[in-house]
Symmetry: C2
DNA sequence: TCTGATATTTACCAAATGGTCAGCAAGCCG
DNA sequence: CGGCTTGCTGACCATTTGGTAAATATCAGA
């Protein structure tokens, strides 16, 4: 626990500075990964000196952990909202795709932070993956399979459906550099085009 | 240029050691990214001392550059093979998906190396992206658009089609940790399931 | 087997990095 | 204002890191 955060009631300055640090850390970690990032870099980005930053957080790892911890909740929210009782399952899944795409476009740094962590073998969030994340996916995969058995959507492998939704949506955040470079001027309508494209793709796939 | 590699004819040892180094470097770089990897780590993995490694390569960056350079050719090959004269465009694109998926599964480290580089803003391969890669994609996107206009495939945004193929196939290499953790025992049939799933998805999308 | 080229090691360096500490400065509250 | 807590800094430290230099060991060919 950080010295400053150890007290029960945070002061105004504590709140402001910790948030500034986390914001800066998100920038840096999402770009360079954990090992590729330095405290100095984060401190500079946050407008603090290194010792000052370390007054608020005990270590580099502590910042990273807190960031990942906070991330996972937000990250799972779109899938959590998938309603098993929806009366139009195709629309419900498409809505999930839209939420996911929006999240990737609104929070690209979060997406990259997550991608970096997974790429490196998820050393710091493996428990979260095999725990809450897996549980949620298992649950929702069962829902999807149920819909398929009832003939409400076309028969698809539920896990690979989820993977393909993750892959296609997060691609726009994680590989943004590449996407922008290739689209050039077309980048301006990228989000709308992607939204249309993915809607079509998953609708065609899922319509019974 | 590395001292050892400067000579025109490489000796047996030079060939062996450079390959060992590149193999080790691929392992390390693909996991930790450029900044997160150390020469010591690579040297150890290759069974060499650090100075000995630096006898073959001038710097950490030199190894990384050579790796990326070699990578891009292999990486673009599947798309290059997309035949504009194919008489069944849907099948032709599906075949491309299969080549891509196979490549992701056979060369996951290469996929991750590339992913790491793009995630970090592609500082070392931006020219390759805006150059050869973009040119190839532009060319093939035009082919796909042609097919769509002729009614041979359903009308789709050609660039986003390509992105979605990249995203879905590379996902199995880049996010393997996550995929395996979630599938658990189901991982064994992952490749076949993914192949089936993607075939269905893209066939449904593209069939006119 | 001798010799020159190639290969490898030991010892080293400067810079960067994660982190600490003692002391000084600012806020806050009576 | 005075005093106590909170916030911040500069100097410092040990370790790691990328990289070098010189000395030594190994190899291939005459």
């Amino acid at each position: 626990m950080a010295r400053a955060a150890a007290s029960k009631t945070q002061t105004r300055i504590q709140r402001e500075k910790t948030e500034a640090i986390l914001a800066a850390a998100l920038d840096v970690f999402s770009t360079y990964g954990f090992r590729g990032s330095t405290i100095d870099q984060i401190a500079k980005q946050a407008g603090l000196s290194k010792p000052n930053l370390l007054y608020y957080f005990d270590s580099k790892e502590a910042i990273h952990s807190l960031l990942l911890e906070r991330l996972l909740d937000t990250w799972l929210e779109p899938l959590k909202k998938l309603d098993p009782a929806a009366n139009d399952p195709v629309k419900e899944i498409i809505a999930y795709v839209h939420r996911k795409l929006e999240m990737a476009c609104d929070y690209p740094r979060e997406s990259r932070l997550f991608a970096n962590e997974i790429l490196q073998g998820a050393p710091r969030i493996m428990e979260q993956i095999t725990g809450p994340l897996k549980d949620l996916v298992d649950e929702k995969a069962a829902v999807i399979e149920g819909w398929a058995k009832q003939g409400k959507i076309a028969p698809v492998h539920p896990y690979h459906l989820i993977f393909s939704i993750w892959a296609t949506t997060q691609h726009y955040a994680d590989f943004d550099t590449q996407v922008s470079a290739i689209l050039g001027a077309r980048s301006e309508t990228c989000f709308e085009d992607a939204c249309d494209y993915l809607t079509t793709m998953f609708t065609k796939l899922l319509r019974p």
